[in-house]
Symmetry: C2
Subunit: 238 residues, 2 copies
């Protein structure tokens, strides 16, 4: 069975959990505290980040170590090739290369750009430091960083608003990996109550469509000790 | 004909120039000063970064704007699907999904992680600020940032040393996109004379193999006014 090293509050990990859920692939989920930099985990992914997927089919078909697929974008491609390609109209990858490229651009946007401009500030200060303090690390949240993250989040919501008003789904006419990547990324600041939904009706309508999919249920069940989700977090009609 | 918006000193752009060179795809190269944030360019890529590929086949086969393929990782996949897939043994993408995943992990490493840990410090301070000063922007180089970039570069060279000693090429037994991504990324600090080749014999041997390919020649011809390359930069036997 597939094993996924992940963290419940990692948007990139949530992206892979959504893909596995959409395709109905059973998996064992192993929570990794990346800040502890476990030796065994660094062997699987020298970058030290989640998500990392381990699967017998990987070690059998590769001449090099590590016997793991590391990184959300890479795992997304791997699951498309090994599972999605057989899924016909449920496949989350568009059929033609030009549309795929647009979809991949948006996956990269939410995995890397959103993380660098929002996650690294807002989520780092409010969630990761909170969790690290439980292990005697982390320190106090920096309010200037939180403000910077909130400002950057507004720009991303502006862009999402433009996207969802000009397309049915983010990557084109059908649900695709880019919707899952974007919704996974947003879901973490949403846990914190950081998304001003009242001023984002178009983005909210798109997010509600993704959020109400059965694949999203496990994500809405994630709870952190000492840091409960915003009251509307689990609400499908928020 | 394909148009590539790029910059000669952008490692991510060089990666795409190498792919086009390896596949013998003719292209028109348009130098973009991304720091000027030209309106027309932002329409092609709202992230404002190079490389961006424009091709008639993109606008014909996509229902959404922009009619461009943006980002080095995404363009690499697009060129594999539209050109590489027909290249048989010259294809730069491994045949099986497990090996592809390892190759993609390394492409992502050199496009994103190397950029975040080395490019953003060393190249930003020594090249981009130099170029921006020509447009009345940029400011003076920050020596603390340069030192941080050099320290991070050492870690990347350690990891590359481990890779090239355990494999024939970075992605496995054959030249692949990961060799081009890594060599393109290294080539920019190498222009600055920042790579301590004498203490990196294994990495140097691998880099010399990539550097001596005909696809690399245009990159060795890149020169900046007022900032000449290190003396060994064009030398194939450095």
């Amino acid at each position: 069975m597939i094993q996924l090293y992940h963290h419940p509050m990692s948007g990139a990990s949530r992206y892979i959990r959504l893909i596995l859920g959409e395709y109905g692939v059973p998996a064992e989920f192993i929570e990794e505290k990346t800040w502890l930099r476990r030796e065994e985990f660094l062997t699987l992914n020298p970058a030290g980040t989640v998500p990392v997927l381990v699967d017998d089919a990987v070690s059998k078909n590769r001449d090099t170590t590590p016997a793991a697929v590391a990184g959300a974008m890479v795992i997304g491609e791997y699951l498309d090739e090994t599972v999605g390609a057989m899924m016909r109209e449920k496949r989350l990858m568009p059929e033609n290369s030009a549309t795929r490229a647009e979809m991949r651009r948006l996956v990269e946007w939410f995995i890397h750009k959103f993380e660098a401009e929002v996650g690294r500030y807002l989520v780092q200060e409010r969630i990761w430091k909170h969790l690290m303090r439980g292990d005697g690390m982390g320190g106090a949240p920096d309010s200037a960083m939180i403000r910077a993250g909130r400002t950057n989040l507004k720009s991303h919501l502006r862009y999402l608003d433009w996207l969802v008003q000009s397309r049915n789904w983010l990557g084109g006419n059908r649900l695709s990996l880019s919707d899952l990547a974007a919704a996974a990324a947003l879901s973490v600041p949403d846990y914190l109550g950081e998304i001003p939904w009242d001023s984002e009706p178009a983005v909210r309508d798109w997010y509600a469509r993704v959020k109400s999919r059965p694949s999203f249920r496990p994500i809405l069940a994630d709870k952190l000790a000492g840091l409960p989700p915003a009251s509307h977090y689990v609400d499908l009609d928020f």
